[in-house]
């Protein structure tokens, strides 16, 4: 029987903007199995990124139940959420968010610094992560010296270096051309396959989701309107 990686029911995230309440996520209920590759699609403002932030423990729900790898996130305080982010999830962003003054190696090393891994243990782990994304030769380059595709590879290596159970990717190909997009999607697909990694990828590119994901979930106005296997 397949384990459940993510389970949420009646999940809500509302923001108050003056007199208005924005219902970014409005009663989402879903289950994602371990090792499943799920694509979340929808128009701008449909709540895709907010849902990803909730699952990533970056944001907290207004109400509802959210469980990731057996941990109830709605019951965790901010410190426990930080420790959850440190160990359970890896996040890849559309804008890469690499530290510009640090080399590829140093960027990938960051999560291990937070995990108090000693320098002697960090070195081979970071090198293996860079090798996996094909950037061993570019380890000492600054982000500004790398192409957009390479920068996203570094970001993926950084997300994967701590061996998370769940990879959250927020528009990972949003800033890339077609060729680089395909390479990144292949890389993520490979990680999903080889490591039985649960992947939740937010994308406005439905074609990309169809090519890579096992299932597509469509959000509209903060609600799940479609969940279909591909």
């Amino acid at each position: 029987m397949t384990e459940t990686a993510v389970r949420c029911s009646e999940l809500q995230r509302h923001f108050t903007r003056g007199a208005h309440t924005v219902r970014a996520v409005d009663g989402v209920s879903l289950e994602i199995a371990t090792g499943e590759f799920v694509g979340v699609v929808g128009t701008s403002g449909s709540g895709k990124t907010t849902l990803l932030n909730l699952i990533g423990g970056l944001d907290t729900a207004t109400s509802g139940h959210l469980e990731v790898m057996g941990q109830r996130l709605d019951a965790l305080d901010s410190r426990q959420l930080a420790l959850y982010r440190r160990t359970t999830v890896g996040i890849v962003f559309q804008a890469f968010h690499l530290l510009p003054a640090r080399s590829a190696f140093e960027n990938v090393e960051l999560p291990l610094l937070l995990q108090n891994v000693t320098p002697s243990d960090r070195q081979p782990t970071v090198e293996a992560a860079l090798d996996q994304v094909g950037l061993t030769a570019r380890r000492d380059h600054l982000p500004s010296e790398l192409s957009a595709g390479e920068q996203q590879r570094v970001a993926i290596a950084r997300a994967m270096v701590k061996r998370p159970r769940v990879l959250l990717a927020d528009e990972p190909t949003g800033n890339l051309d077609r060729r680089n997009s395909d390479e990144i999607l292949e890389l993520i697909q490979g990680l999903n396959r080889e490591r039985e990694l649960t992947v939740i990828m937010v994308s406005h590119d439905e074609d990309a989701v169809e090519r890579t994901a096992h299932r597509a979930i469509r959000l509209d106005d903060g609600r799940v309107v479609e969940s279909a296997a591909i």
Partner: protein
């Protein structure tokens, strides 16, 4: 994050903004430099004054008397040889000896002088001559173990002899000292008033004569407190046997009461003026009355505290400005690195991790500024010293070292720089810790 990584991370962040970090650290350096240079000059001045004070016999001594409190006689501790031995064991005490003075007549070939014959330990007399407080005019000081030797002041010798005779001629001569002694009979002493008849008085007033050899003539060499005066000094062992039964004053003659066992006063010499107060406290805790001349000049110590406080405050103003620079630098860093903070949080950094990171950066600025400040402070203090000594030489004064750049100033300067930097870093660090990762990653 382990501390080494945290330190390296903070250091590399500061290196990215070298100029800003250098200017902020320079601000701290100026503050610490101002503070340490002023405090070191203040401490040096204090040290020089205290050294001068410490060489003064009167300023470092405590006079001990039996308690004057209204307690029963039996409860008052005796000021005797055992008590003096205990005083010598007190911390900060270098010597304790009884003040023994017996009034009497010094007689020499028909000349006479009524004065107190004072007991002074041979080592103390030697020390006073060595320090220049007492100057030998003729002869020598008496030595340890020597008895019945007299050293008298030039003025006392002049009073004793006729004007035409040089005081030097007394050296080597044997003179007499006549003391009025009591019988030591307690019944005699008990008979006072009408019951005490002339016969009692005469019987008691039994003069005792002491033969003394004049070994030296001295005069005062000090300027602060000339305690030579008309003194007649003999070794303690010479005068102590007379002391217990000698009449001290007119009252004791009329009442027949003599000192008896114990002493009326004991002089305790301390290691320095700073040891006087604690010694006084210890002696008073033991039930004695302890007084020192330093009681009268405690304002001097207060003045030093105020002076050092004022000097440190001037440095403190600079350091306050430096602290504001640190706050400004780090707040700028928080604003510039909001994205980085958000990213670190997305990777699992806790609020405390982020706060520690910025406090470490503040601490690194503080240490850099502190080290620079100590170098600057030392240089400024040395320059101040050179300028002051140049002025001293111009007006014919001797050169002195005005600077006391002690280990504690170094430790204190560095510690204070670190402390101020960390305090200044608290606000930016808390601000960084409060950054919402969602907002930081979306907008920066």
């Amino acid at each position: 994050m382990i501390f080494r990584d945290q330190f390296r991370y903070a250091f590399s962040n500061l290196r990215k903004t070298r100029l800003r970090t250098a200017l902020t650290a320079a601000g701290v350096a100026i503050g610490i430099g101002a503070m340490t240079s002023m405090v070191s000059v203040g401490a040096g001045t204090q040290r020089n004054v205290l050294t001068a004070f410490n060489e003064q016999f009167l300023l470092t001594s405590v006079m001990v008397r039996p308690s004057e409190r209204d307690s029963a006689e039996a409860e008052r501790p005796a000021l005797d040889s055992a008590a003096i031995a205990a005083f010598r064991d007190l911390p900060g005490v270098r010597a304790a000896y009884p003040v023994v003075a017996v009034p009497g007549l010094l007689l020499d070939q028909g000349n006479r002088l009524f004065r107190n014959l004072e007991g002074m330990p041979a080592w103390l007399l030697g020390e006073q001559i060595e320090r220049g407080r007492v100057e030998l005019v003729a002869g020598r000081a008496y030595r340890e173990g020597e008895t019945n030797a007299l050293v008298l002041s030039e003025r006392a010798a002049g009073r004793l002899l006729s004007d035409s005779v040089s005081p030097d001629t007394l050296v080597g001569r044997t003179v007499s000292f006549m003391v009025a002694q009591g019988s030591g009979d307690s019944e005699d002493a008990a008979r006072t008033g009408p019951e005490r008849g002339p016969a009692d008085f005469i019987r008691q007033f039994a003069p005792t004569t002491l033969e003394l050899t004049v070994v030296g003539i001295v005069k005062g060499g000090g300027t602060l407190a000339d305690f030579v005066g008309l003194s007649l000094w003999v070794p303690l062992a010479t005068v102590e046997p007379l002391y217990a039964r000698a009449f001290q004053d007119l009252e004791s003659i009329l009442t027949g009461e003599v000192q008896g066992d114990g002493y009326a006063m004991v002089q305790v010499l301390t290691d320095g003026v700073m040891a006087v107060r604690p010694t006084q406290d210890s002696l008073e805790a033991r039930g004695f009355t302890a007084q020192s001349i330093l009681d009268e000049i405690k304002e001097v110590r207060r003045a030093f505290v105020i002076m050092n406080g004022l000097l440190a405050m001037i440095g403190g103003v600079s350091l306050t400005v430096a602290a504001m620079m640190i706050v400004n630098t780090l707040v700028m860093a928080v604003l510039e690195r909001t994205n980085e903070i958000g990213l670190l949080k997305s990777m699992g950094a806790t609020d405390a991790d982020v706060m520690r990171l910025f406090l470490t950066e503040a601490g690194v600025i503080g240490i850099l500024g502190g080290v620079g400040g100590l170098v600057l402070g030392y240089a400024v203090a040395r320059i101040t010293n050179a300028i002051a000594n140049f002025q001293f030489q111009r007006v014919g004064e001797v050169s002195i070292d005005l600077v006391a750049f002690s280990f504690w100033i170094i430790v204190g300067g560095l510690g204070f720089a670190l402390f101020v930097s960390l305090v200044a870093g608290v606000y930016p660090a808390r601000r960084a810790a409060r950054v919402d990762p969602v907002v930081a990653l979306r907008h920066f």
